[in-house]
């Protein structure tokens, strides 16, 4: 067996506590190399006659990607602590893999050879709010969803949908508009709204905050927001807000004070200034988001800044009963801040969902002490490239999805935020090159996958648009101009997701990934049921046989109900 391919390291996606009594252990091997793998396991202190008492337990192959097979086993150690290693077999070899390296047989004269999960301490377990895995999100960009109250329109507001969005124009979308259209959301079947920023800011996107404690007046006031949250809750819809804590806006008074008073400003330690005088042109001489001078990076290590932002985190949960925080540019803020943020907001409300915006591999933020989830862009890339763009084939797609799933613990996957597009990308129908059939198939995949999916406002009725600002058009409320067929398709999928627990289950098995026909077949299983999904990602009709083991069983076609 190829020793170089074998990988395991505890306390991340390879070994983690799933709950108070259960450990999940994974092993990586070269693809098609090992034929069986067993976990060698025992209590670290269970000795008798100078040797360690161990058992073995068969592992199952939970997936494969381009290069590797992944093996999985669940175990409930009686005393919540475990020493363990692996015994790998194929026709030619038997190999024992431990923390100290490879052996030909199981060394049990000492436990020091073995990997360790020292103790399952409850407080360290990754535990997202239980409601999240059954939630389907709907992302609203408030300026563009609906104008329900023209009295709060900012000066120069354009007529709804009268022209294409630009980086600077305004159409008057507000909270009243959301309240008035909540039936649309209930009808669709979503159960959570993620609002991009709503706090007082300068731009139409509001990512350049002026005051984190105030609602932007163009959206309404605190009373309107309270009514909005209540209306959502009454309709079984959770509310998540966007926390832009990496940087403030240019008109944030503390930053204005710095520009005005320079070295004498009492806020000079609120930012990462490098020299005086502080200048914004031609280039900012302070740390900023990217190189955007209007978005000065906040010094979240400064206790004053920390106190201020943590209180922001607490305030909107405490006073308005919101259910989640989405954290903008979360990976550039220090881990220490996020640990304190988690503690602060969960002390107010235990089951607040904390979602980090991170586009890359995010294990360091998902250890249980910081976030409940990240925006699952690796999932997005795989799904979009296969279904929407046709740039990868069925096998490459399966490999990517398998790789994503094995990059995180199962309890992390169960609450991953699986989006197809957002205010930061072109709209998904546009990415699909306006091919609605492809989009429908993509929705089948997204909405049958584990995690918590998100639909970007307007996608459900066939809206199109290129990169920002094109993807931020005004919501189409004229039902004649809406694609109701697409709406019904998504609605039906959401209903099926609600009724069939296999949709949200973590256990996915790709039975077929056919590069010739470009179709895939996967099953999803929970304790009691199994659902088989057959997705034909081509424009040709194909015939697919039901897998052998399903023959003769009582099978219901979920799509037709037959």
């Amino acid at each position: 067996m190829l020793k170089e391919a074998i990988y395991h390291r505890p306390k991340n996606n390879y070994a983690y506590a799933y709950d108070e009594s259960t450990l999940h252990i994974r092993l990586r091997t070269k693809k098609d190399d090992a034929e069986s793998v067993s976990l060698i396991h025992g209590d670290p202190y269970d000795w008798g006659d100078g040797s360690w008492n161990y058992d073995t337990k068969q592992m199952s192959k939970s997936g494969s990607d381009e290069l590797f097979d992944y093996w999985f086993v669940e175990i409930e150690p009686k005393f919540r602590r475990l020493r363990y290693g692996f015994e790998l077999k194929n026709k030619k070899d038997v190999l024992v893999y431990t923390e100290k390296g490879f052996y030909k047989s199981i060394p049990n004269d000492d436990t020091a050879y073995f990997f360790t999960f020292p103790f399952i301490n409850k407080i360290d377990i990754f535990e997202a709010p239980s409601w999240v895995k059954d939630t389907v999100w709907y992302q609203i960009f408030p300026e563009r969803f609906a104008n329900g109250d023209t009295k709060n329109d900012p000066p120069g507001t354009l007529e709804w949908g009268s022209t294409d969005p630009t980086p600077t124009n305004f159409f008057g979308g507000d909270f009243e508009g959301v309240i008035q259209h909540i039936d649309h959301l209930v009808d669709l079947g979503i159960t959570g709204i993620y609002f991009t920023p709503i706090f007082k800011a300068y731009s139409n996107h509001k990512y350049d905050t002026i005051d984190y404690m105030e609602i932007d007046p163009q959206f309404g006031d605190k009373e309107t927001f309270k009514r909005l949250v209540e209306a959502c809750h009454k309709n079984g819809i959770k509310v998540m807000l966007d926390a832009v804590f990496n940087h403030s806006g240019y008109y944030f008074p503390q930053f204005q004070d710095v520009l005005e008073n320079q070295e004498k400003s009492k806020f000079k330690d609120w930012f990462h200034l490098k020299e005086f005088p502080v200048v914004t042109e031609p280039k900012p001489n302070y740390d900023a988001f990217a190189f955007v001078s209007a978005m000065p990076k906040l010094n979240t290590e400064n206790p004053e800044v920390k106190d201020y932002l943590l209180e922001v985190g607490r305030y909107w949960v405490r006073e308005f009963n919101i259910d989640g925080w989405r954290l903008d540019v979360a990976n550039e803020v220090d881990h220490q801040f996020w640990r304190e943020f988690r503690k602060a907001v969960k002390e107010i409300k235990q089951d607040v969902y904390i979602l980090g915006e991170i586009w890359h591999d995010s294990m360091p933020w998902l250890q249980g002490d910081q976030f409940d989830a990240v925006m699952n862009y690796p999932f997005t890339t795989g799904a979009v490239n296969f279904f929407a763009k046709d740039t990868i084939n069925a096998v490459e797609f399966k490999n990517i999805i398998s790789n994503v799933m094995h990059s995180y613990p199962n309890n992390v996957n169960e609450v991953a935020f699986n989006l197809l597009d957002s205010h930061d990308t072109p709209r998904i129908l546009t990415i699909c090159n306006d091919n609605k059939e492809k989009l429908k198939l993509l929705y089948v995949f997204q909405l049958s996958f584990t995690g918590t999916p998100c639909i970007y406002y307007g996608d459900e009725i066939g809206m199109t648009g290129g990169p920002d600002p094109g993807c931020r058009k005004c919501m189409e409320w004229n039902t004649d101009a809406q694609d109701r067929d697409l709406f019904e398709h998504i609605k039906k999928l959401l209903q099926l997701r609600k009724e069939n627990s296999t949709f949200t289950a973590n256990d996915i098995n790709f039975i077929v990934s056919d590069t010739t026909t470009n179709h895939i077949v996967y099953t999803k299983k929970d304790r009691d049921h199994e659902t088989i999904f057959i997705l034909n990602n081509s424009d040709k009709d194909i015939e697919v046989e039901v897998p052998l083991y399903m023959k003769g069983k009582n099978v219901i076609d979920l799509w037709t109900g037959e």
Copy 2:
């Protein structure tokens, strides 16, 4: 190249902030596979004409073990954030490795392919106290070091060294004894003392605490301890105490209260009880250290317990100015507790050293938020097996040491607690089968290695002893019975370590690992100097050539001074 062997994942030993401006990046490849590796790197937001602007920087091979080569590069990203990947070359292949997988050439139409170090936030950097890397520790088991005050002897105290130690006998060692013999330690040249537990307890080893806020009366009182710390500090010696927070002792009043009042005890949530009545026999029906009923595991998630133990942590630092805490069974206590512990004690004294007792791979505790170091048993195993036991050859030894060093960031290695033996193992001379020449060689290696070495009391004068309790004999104070030659050998090494910064430097390069002669040659380098170490781990004389590149240079023999 063998793709399956190539490994990198950020925010651990493969990519970490070394200081406020410097990142260290490592890559693992199959041994002798890649001939050169470059880091592809750039600012995540540095775009021009639709493509990402990147540079490349050559990496150097920093070591190899049995299966792998390790590549290293240091980089100072201008804006403290980095996107990066790797370009690997050998005669046959060019391969680009990114977070998204392998490519034939560098994809720069998007930064999403690449690995990310999002931002160097100062507060997240692993930063141990600066004094630690120059410290040489001396471990004292207080009951057996010296009896300086017979007035505090416990009942039944035996005459010093009159008999072999047993698990239950007492010889009256105390603080006054340490104070009286401080000259011995100064003469040897050590600069830190690690005391096994000194708090009120039942046993002779004191790991079964009764009161964490009181000195055990057999050692003296708080006034004596204050004098001891002052005497140490006056002689340039740091003081580290042992915190046994995983479990209390049987006679801990809170546990006694549980045994007495059972379900009605107000301390029932201080432990991990599983049922009532709580019983200690035949087996404890509560969580304990190993299966020792007299050591009930403390519930460190209980805020009352946490407050109590954190105050213990603060108290001895604040009131007695101690310099370090060694944490017993540290891996079985929750991470959350240790994060709070670090914050609590460092708020009192910024440069307290926090050392965890962990016997296995410990990356999850060494991320900057918990410990400054762990007891480096993987180092111990490698060094002892080669020099003391002869169970591995020179190449296997080099592989283990290289593997240990690449398991952690360099700033972690620089303060690793490198011990040869302790109160938990046989004495090192006994492990050497009483072969003093082997032991001398082992000391050369230990004391020329990066990290912070520790000498177990009495080892320096040739004491012997098997496993606990054999290794806990009374210190030999009769100079005629002491091995003064060994003492002088170690003293000389400590002097050389003090005078030559290369000894503590992190940069080690094994030039020769000869399995025939069993000799090794390694160099250690810092900015200005290089030292070559030639260790002949055999009983035969050998001739060793000075490496070619050193010929003609001005070479000083550090051992003879010539």
